[in-house]
Amino acid sequence: MDAKAKGKKAGAADDIGRETRLELYRLQVELRHCEKRAHDLFLQNLVKGTSHLSLGQEAIAAAFGVAMRPDDWTFCTYRGHAHTLARGASMSGVLGELMGRECGLLGGKGGSMHLTDVSKGAMGSYAIIGAHLPVAAGAAWSAQYRGTEQVAVCFFGDGTTNIGAFHEALNFAAVWKLPVVYVCENNLYMEYTPIASVTAVEKPAADRAAAYGLESVVVDGNDADEVYRTAVKYMERARKGGGPALIEAVTYRHSGHSRADPAKYRPEGELEKWLERDPLKIYRARLLKLGVAEATLKDIEDESMRKVDEATAIAKASPPPALEAIEKNVWADGGAAWRN
């Protein structure tokens, strides 16, 4: 791959206020605690289906969560607990859905791979690779059409850059100058296969930006500040009619691909190296360096743990969904009738 395509570091100058920084920390901690809880619940056999954790990737969801306007839209993947929570969706709703309970965001009908909270602009988690990229473009079209200055943000993984829908969506969004920000979380692997072994370029998203007339943007996905600055920059541009962006955030997932995966395919030492670069560790150290008191951080952490415990209790107490749900909500009339 040639050097020119390697992308440039985005955003660096502008400062981020203390309140924003605390919010970024709070959110990252909350996502971390909640994901860990999801894992515990799985070990207790309370999470029934699959689940795909964002442990290690929290900085990205958190930074966008803080940067987005409440009426902006998020589109994410099966690995979407963090992105959904980052928009303010109910934590008991998320955990309840993982556990297949009535209190789940989807009443137990969608499962962990389809978390959605329309009231918070979390417009769905999509479990078939690539599909939500065109959908996000469509939402952006609707904002553009109605002149609302809303932005659609669409998260996906490195592996997703090799599927056809990626290509179609990027070209479509670019030609129509749609207010959509595409965020590739490059965590180095598709399921169990290293992305480098199945991709013709080094940076699966950024090295393809030029194919859609877009800038090549690579950010450190484990640095919430860097992601935040980049998010603000490209979302504002999109909001003002400047068209789409494609951001590649380099990161790493600490756990396996899904609950079934012990991640034995990783080369020795790789995880350890990335644990050094744990986004929470980085961010905590930075805050301390910036003069935030240890006690402030501790409060945030404790408060977050309380929230997770509370959500867990609610979810555990929630009954399984009533069987009548099966034939509900196929249609807008609430039912499932295909005949008279």
Binding site: Q150, V330, R339
Partner: protein
């Protein structure tokens, strides 16, 4: 009543709805400036402008995905897939995303969108541009499916599809585009899920769809006149929702069911109807259920071959005669 061609009636249906509701938008390939490859959307760009009537790249997944994203955020998009065969290219968007999203989100996301597509044989285009695939859509929970047979129906069902809060696929039959018929003046909106009884008979109930409807009617006239066999003819019109009341009632009256399907044999919509009748109407049946379908082959392109492959009037007459003996 004005006389319109089926293709003009499509455009009239879209125009009626775009006129009424600013949130209705229309997108597809070569649909705007060129008015569509079947000229079924001529004039819409001129009338509603390039913001609402949009030409797209050859990106069916993006087109249908964009329609979905727009629908869940407040627009009412009509997306064209040029030939129904190309639904295969964006089948994930249709069958896995659009069809399931309302259910999976427990009703949070609503998708008031329409997909229109040119379906079926008769143009000598060969196997990749001529299939009748309405059964593909019928098989997927979460999709409503209509296939109109007349200009009036296509206008009214396109309008009904636009107003419906759920995703609807409208299968327009290519060979019907040039057919003329009376279309009610003024606003015309039909109802999804209603079959039409076009002819009442005593011996046999023939259930047909789209291009097979005029053929079934013609066959019924011949059967009556030349062979003394009197047929009811039902135009199914809507596969989902399916008007089983009408179909069951009409079969009960004659005691016999014949389906006439353009789709290839296996798992065609006629099979579904046959299975419903064989369960719920079993005791009223006086003889075997007969399905007349395109044989289970990809379609050949040469004119004589294509004509001999899809059910013809002569074949319908012959098969009903043989089976009614």
């Amino acid at each position: 009543m004005a006389e319109l061609t089926y293709r003009e009636a499509v455009a009239a249906g879209i125009a009626q709805e775009m006129e009424r509701d600013e949130l209705v938008v229309f997108l597809g390939e070569d649909v705007a400036a060129a008015g569509g490859v079947f000229k079924s959307t001529v004039g819409l760009l001129e009338r509603f402008g390039p913001k609402r009537v949009r030409d797209c790249p050859i990106s069916e997944q993006a087109i249908i995905g964009a329609a979905m994203g727009a629908a869940m955020t407040g627009l009412k998009p009509i997306a064209e897939i040029m030939f129904s065969d190309f639904l295969a290219v964006c089948w994930d968007m249709v069958a896995n995303e659009i069809a399931k999203t309302r259910y999976m989100t427990n009703g949070q996301i609503q998708l008031p969108l329409v997909i229109r597509t040119a379906n079926g044989a008769g143009s000598r285009f060969g196997a990749q541009h001529s299939q009748a695939v309405e059964n593909w859509a019928m098989a997927v929970p979460g999709l409503k499916v209509v296939a109109p047979s007349t200009p009036a129906d296509v206008k009214g069902l396109v309008a009904a599809a636009v107003r419906d809060p759920d995703p609807v696929i409208v299968f327009e039959q290519k060979s019907l585009y040039a057919v003329k018929g009376e279309v009610p003046d003024g606003e015309h909106v039909d109802v999804l899920g209603k079959a039409k009884v076009l002819r009442e008979g005593k011996d046999c109930t023939v259930v047909a769809l789209a291009l097979m409807v005029p053929r079934a009617l013609e066959a019924a006239a011949i059967l009556e006149k030349e062979h003394g066999i009197s047929c009811t003819v039902v135009d199914v019109r809507s596969l989902v929702p399916l008007d089983t009341q009408t179909i069951l009632a009409e079969v009960a009256k004659t005691g016999r069911l014949v389906t006439v399907e353009e789709n290839p044999r296996l798992c065609g919509w006629g099979a579904e109807i046959a299975s419903i009748v064989a369960d719920e109407c079993f005791w009223s049946l006086d003889g075997p259920i007969v399905r007349i379908t395109t044989p289970h082959v990809p379609l050949p392109s040469a004119d004589q071959l294509e004509d001999a492959t899809i059910p013809s009037v002569a074949r319908i007459v012959r098969e009903i005669r043989e089976k009614m003996d």
